[in-house]
C-alpha cells in the first residue's frame, strides 16, 4: 500500500503519459478492491463471532427457562454483544466515511495544538508529548473533526508501540512536491502541502509489517486489544482530503507517520477555532468524582482526563464495585456513570447511592442518544447526559456545569 508495485515495462516499449496514468489508476483501483475484500472478510469474521456469541447465550437463556440465575448473566452478555456490534458498525462508518465532510479552511496548527493538549491529559505518565508547530504553516481545507480523529488514531498507535514509555512528537511543516518527487512516488501529485508528522520512540516495524499496516483489520496487537481499523481510518481520511500518508520505521528505532494535506491560499474561515486561546486549560475543580464504566479504555480515559482537570477520582468497573468505593470513600460529590452496565443500569446505581447521600450529583454517559434512552425509560428528563463519543473538553465543561448546578430537591 505504501510502496506501490512498479509497472513492469520493457525497455524500448514507449508508453505515453496518459497510458501510464491510466495503468496506475487501474493499479490503485485493484489495490482498493483488495482492501475492500480484506475489509469484507474481516467484517464477516467479527460479525460472525458476535452473532455466534449472541445465539449461544440466547440458547443458554432458553435452557434455563428464563432470565433467572445464569440466564440473567447471559442476557447481560447479549446486551454487551449488541453494543460491540454497534461499535463495529461505527468503526466501519469511520472507515468508509460515507457521511459528508464539513470542510473549512484552517491553519492545521490549531488542530494539532488542540489535539496535543487533549492527548497530554490521556497519555500514560511515562510518555512525554512534544509538539512543534511551524510558525509559517500554510492553510488547508479540511474537516477538523476528521483530522483530529486521524491524529488521535496515530497517537494511540504510538502509545501502543511504547509499552515502557518514550517520546511522542507532533510537528508540522510546509512541504513542496516537485515533478521529480511526484514521478518517483506513486499517488503523489505535484504541489504544496501541509505536513503533520507523528513520531514515536517505540518498538518500530519490520518491512513486512510496514507494508500491511493500513490494511483494514491488520493488527499486531494481542487479541481483544485492537480492531485493526485505526490506521485504515488514518489512510482513508488522508486520501479523502486529497492527501496521503508515508511511514518511516525500523525495528527498534520507532516510527514516524507523515500526513500530507494539500495547502490552500485562502485565509482561515473558522474564526472561532482560530481565535480560541491556544493555552486555555480545561475547566476543572477539586471535588471528588466516582467514575463507573465497564469499558476499560473509556474508564481509563475518563479517569485520566478528570484527574488532569484537578478532580480527585475513584473509578470502578461495575456497579457493585462502585457502591463499595462510594461507601469506602464517604465524600463523593459526583457520580459519572455509564448507563448500560452489567448487574444494573447507571440509573439504578445512582438511585441507590443517592438514597444514602441525597446531595450526590450525577452525569450519565452512553453510546445511545438521550432520546433513545428516554424512550426506554433509562434516562429521566432533565438528567445531565453526554453521548459517546464526546471530546474531553466537552466532558470537562459538562462535569463543571453539573457540579456548579444547584442541588435538585425532592
Amino acid at each position: 500500500m505504501l510502496e506501490e508495485t512498479p509497472l513492469d515495462l520493457q525497455p524500448g516499449n514507449a508508453v505515453g503519459e496518459d497510458e501510464l496514468e491510466r495503468l496506475e489508476g487501474e493499479l490503485r483501483q485493484s489495490q482498493r478492491l483488495e482492501a475492500v475484500g480484506q475489509l469484507a472478510s474481516g467484517v464477516a469474521h467479527e460479525f460472525n463471532n458476535i452473532l455466534m456469541a449472541i445465539g449461544g447465550h440466547a440458547e443458554l437463556v432458553a435452557r434455563e427457562g428464563g432470565p433467572g440465575g445464569n440466564g440473567r448473566a447471559s442476557l447481560n452478555k447479549i446486551r454487551e454483544l449488541t453494543r460491540r456490534g454497534a461499535a463495529l458498525a461505527g468503526q466501519l462508518l469511520a472507515f468508509s466515511r460515507r457521511e459528508t465532510m464539513e470542510l473549512v479552511t484552517v491553519n492545521v496548527n490549531t488542530i494539532v495544538k488542540e489535539t496535543a493538549r487533549m492527548l497530554r491529559k490521556v497519555m500514560p505518565a511515562q510518555i512525554d508529548l512534544e509538539s512543534f508547530a511551524a510558525g509559517d504553516l500554510g492553510n488547508a481545507r479540511v474537516d477538523p473533526a476528521q483530522i483530529q480523529q486521524l491524529l488521535v488514531n496515530l497517537a494511540v498507535n504510538a502509545r501502543d508501540a511504547m509499552p515502557r514509555g518514550g517520546r511522542l512528537t507532533l510537528e508540522t511543516a510546509n512541504v513542496e512536491f516537485d515533478r521529480d518527487y511526484a514521478g518517483e512516488h506513486s499517488g503523489v501529485k505535484v504541489g504544496s502541502y501541509v505536513m503533520i508528522a507523528v513520531s514515536d520512540t517505540g518498538t518500530g516495524m519490520d518491512p513486512r509489517t510496514r507494508e500491511r499496516i493500513f490494511e483494514p483489520f491488520f493488527t499486531t496487537k494481542p487479541a481483544g486489544e485492537g480492531t485493526g481499523l485505526g490506521l485504515s481510518v488514518v489512510f482513508g481520511i488522508a486520501r479523502q482530503h486529497g492527501g496521503h500518508v508515508w511511514v518511516y520505521s525500523e525495528p527498534g528505532h520507532g516510527s514516524t507517520f507523515k500526513v500530507y494535506l494539500p495547502r490552500v491560499e485562502a485565509e482561515p474561515e473558522d474564526k472561532e477555532r482560530q481565535d480560541a486561546p491556544a493555552d486555555e486549560g480545561l475547566p476543572g475543580g477539586e471535588e471528588r468524582v466516582l467514575v463507573a464504566e465497564d469499558d476499560n479504555s473509556v474508564r481509563e480515559i475518563l479517569t485520566h482526563c478528570l484527574k488532569g482537570c484537578g478532580y480527585q477520582v475513584v473509578s470502578a468497573e461495575c456497579p457493585s464495585r462502585a457502591e463499595s468505593a462510594f461507601r469506602d470513600d464517604g465524600g463523593i460529590d459526583l457520580l459519572v456513570t455509564d448507563l448500560m452496565m452489567p448487574e444494573r443500569s447507571g440509573r439504578e446505581l445512582y438511585d441507590r447511592l443517592a438514597a444514602e447521600s441525597p446531595g450526590l450529583k450525577v452525569l450519565y454517559i452512553s453510546g445511545y442518544t438521550d432520546r433513545a434512552l428516554g424512550r426506554e425509560g433509562m434516562l429521566e428528563e432533565g438528567s445531565a447526559f453526554l453521548q459517546k463519543p464526546f471530546s474531553l473538553r466537552e466532558l470537562a465543561r459538562v462535569v463543571r456545569e453539573v457540579l456548579d448546578a444547584p442541588p435538585v430537591c425532592g
Binding site: A44, H45, N48, M52, G56, N70, T219
Partner: protein
C-alpha cells in the same frame, strides 16, 4: 450431562473472548471441564500434559493460528479429537481441514447445542 466421576476435559481456543466464553459456559453446563486459550501458543504443550477429549480451535488467530496447532497435534499423534471453528472459510483453509482430518468443523455463527450433539455422537461412535 456427562457421566459422573472424573469430568472430561475440553480445550477451547479462539482469539475472541466472547466466543470462548459462550462455548465454555455451554460445555460446563453439560458437565465438561473446560480450558480456554486465546491463541495457539502453548496449546499443544497443554494437550500433551493433560488428557483432553476434544480440542475446539479457531483457524484465524494472532501469533499461532488453528492450522499450525492441528498440524502439531497430528504430528505428535495426540489422541484428542479436533473440532475446527471459523468465522471465514476460504478454499485454502477448507482443503487444509480435509488434509488434516479434523473430526468436525463448524462455520460461525453456529449453535453450541449442535456442537454438543455432534460431540455426543462422536463419543458414542468411538468409546474410550
Amino acid at each position: 450431562m456427562a457421566e459422573t466421576g472424573k469430568k472430561k476435559r475440553i480445550m477451547v481456543v479462539d482469539d475472541d473472548e466472547d466466543v470462548t466464553d459462550v462455548l465454555a459456559w455451554t460445555l460446563v453446563e453439560d458437565g465438561y471441564d473446560v480450558t480456554t486459550a486465546h491463541d495457539g501458543e502453548g496449546v499443544v504443550d497443554k494437550l500433551r500434559s493433560e488428557e483432553y477429549v476434544l480440542l475446539i480451535v479457531d483457524l484465524c488467530m494472532p501469533r499461532k493460528g488453528g492450522l499450525d496447532v492441528i498440524r502439531e497435534v497430528r504430528a505428535g499423534n495426540l489422541p484428542v479429537k479436533i473440532c475446527v471453528i471459523t468465522g471465514y472459510l476460504d478454499s485454502e483453509s477448507l482443503s487444509a481441514i480435509k488434509t488434516l482430518k479434523a473430526d468436525m468443523a463448524f462455520s460461525k455463527p453456529f449453535s453450541p447445542s449442535d456442537l454438543l450433539r455432534r460431540l455426543k455422537e462422536l463419543e458414542a461412535s468411538s468409546p474410550d
